[in-house]
């Protein structure tokens, strides 16, 4: 068994530098790599390009990096719910590339799986397709979208082991699996690091080969953006 275990978040982020391109898992605030984000804030790396479906909220998630102006460019599909983000974008301080959510997922997967580019129907005929190759297959139009190139991918899983195997929970899974192995170095933080051999080989969502560093995270807040409930009967 090849061990990917590192002692802590500091070791996990070794080699992070200004102007790097990062992938960050999560949908809204669900399944985001909280420990890695906190460390990025602390390290105060600047000029980052962040590929992430959302940009956090004003005081949590990627919003913390935006607040400190560590991000030069965001590649996302949805960036509502974030006033500081909107201000930086409309003022031109922050470059923003908005792309369809399914395209975001597949550009990650292409990087993970060694595909240079994919053809997707999403965005054809819209400004998303401007300047991009389009092509007809069987009477339907598609846009050519390229694999991402990133330096680090930060993902968050529910359980993991030293071999780097990961299991995600519920909808906190989202973009995390497709980002594993999609960057030069994939850092996985997990809620629980279990002994090797405890995870059922049949039920592993991401095999350790896609992960370079793994550690057990601390103090997860797991904030809820829209708490919707029914009254108890």
């Amino acid at each position: 068994m090849i061990s990917k275990k590192v002692a802590n978040v500091s070791e996990a982020l070794e080699g992070i530098k200004d102007n790097m391109t990062l992938m960050l898992g999560g949908f809204g605030l669900s399944g985001i790599p909280e420990n890695s984000i906190s460390k990025l804030v602390e390290l105060n790396v600047k000029g980052l390009t962040c590929i992430s479906n959302n940009a956090g909220v004003d005081n949590f998630g990627l919003g913390l990096l935006l607040h400190k102006k560590q991000i030069d460019k965001m590649v996302s599909s949805y960036v509502g719910e974030n006033a500081e983000f909107e201000r930086q974008m409309l003022s031109g301080e922050l470059e923003v590339e908005l792309i369809p959510q399914g395209t975001l997922a597949e550009r990650c997967r292409a990087a993970q799986a060694g595909f240079p580019a994919i053809y997707t129907p999403a965005g054809f005929g819209t400004e998303v397709a401007e300047g991009k190759e389009t092509r007809e297959f069987d009477g339907k139009m598609y846009v050519l979208e390229h694999a991402f190139k990133a330096d680090f991918a930060f993902v968050k899983a529910w359980k993991g082991d030293a071999a780097g195997n990961l299991i995600f929970k519920g909808t906190a899974r989202n973009f995390n699996p497709v980002m594993c192995g999609a960057a030069k170095i994939t850092v996985a933080e997990v809620e629980e690091l279990v002994p090797v051999g405890e995870l059922d080989p049949n039920q592993i969502h991401i095999p350790g080969i896609f992960v370079q560093r793994i550690f057990e995270g601390k103090n997860y807040e797991k904030r809820i953006e829209q708490r919707t409930v029914r009254p108890k009967l």
């Binding site: 369809p100 975001l104 997707t120 519920g170 989202n174 108890k232």
Partner: protein, 217 residues
């Protein structure tokens, strides 16, 4: 004239037995409340869940179980969780039978705009561009006019598009309208709304053929 719940109620009639349905944020989310009890339907949310149930009871909400609107949800027996790639495989691969989403503008050729107001509001397209580019059955749920009273059913969209020629049906507070090769076609009137009121509120060309029935809710 219908309120948002009325629109959702009417759209619920588009949901057939055995359908997998993707509901957008806003009015579409309300549709789930009005689907008939005697048919089997499963709701998909593009953040990675199939088989969504109602909101959780107070105190039972789980940050790891949300829908695409970031609302806490529950799942029903037979549900499954999956990653974003498989989720959009369901959508792009046309395994989802019906997509219901909101819009800022719809054009008489079926174009839709719902993700950006240049220089003013840019929330992003989320999964909407994948949904409208792939789905065979797209119903738009929206108010007939915007807050300024201007029609949202246009000859051509003025805002940046989300998708081209994709909308099949529109349900508004005033009417049910089909998008045909010849433009908008009025199918049903909301209770108490006249054909003339609908024509007046519709900027795009509106085909009115024969007697237009009132919606059955």
């Amino acid at each position: 004239m219908l309120d948002k719940n009325g629109i959702a109620k009417r759209i619920a009639k588009e949901v057939k037995d055995g359908y997998y349905v993707n509901l957008g944020i806003g009015i579409p989310t309300l549709v789930a409340n009005y689907v008939r009890d005697d048919i089997e339907v499963e709701f998909q949310s593009e953040n990675g869940v199939l088989g969504m149930g109602p909101f959780p009871f107070e105190g039972e909400e789980d940050a790891d179980i949300i829908n695409a609107g970031k609302q806490t949800i529950t799942t029903l027996p037979g549900a499954s969780f999956f990653d974003s790639a498989l989720s959009f495989a369901m959508i792009r691969g046309q395994h989802v039978d019906l997509t219901i989403l909101g819009a800022m503008e719809v054009a008489e050729n079926g174009d839709i705009a719902n993700w950006k107001i240049p220089g003013k509001m840019v929330k992003g397209m989320g999964g909407a561009m994948d949904l409208v580019a792939s789905a065979e059955n797209i119903v738009v749920a929206m108010m007939h006019t915007n807050r300024a009273g201007e029609s949202k059913l246009l000859k051509r969209c003025s805002l940046p598009l989300t998708g081209v020629g994709c909308v099949k049906k529109i349900v508004t507070n005033l009417a049910v309208i089909e998008v045909t090769e010849n433009g908008f076609k009025l199918l049903e009137r909301a209770p108490g709304v006249s054909v003339d009121e609908i024509i007046a509120a519709t900027e795009g060309h509106l085909l009115v053929e024969g007697d237009i029935p009132e919606m059955q809710l």
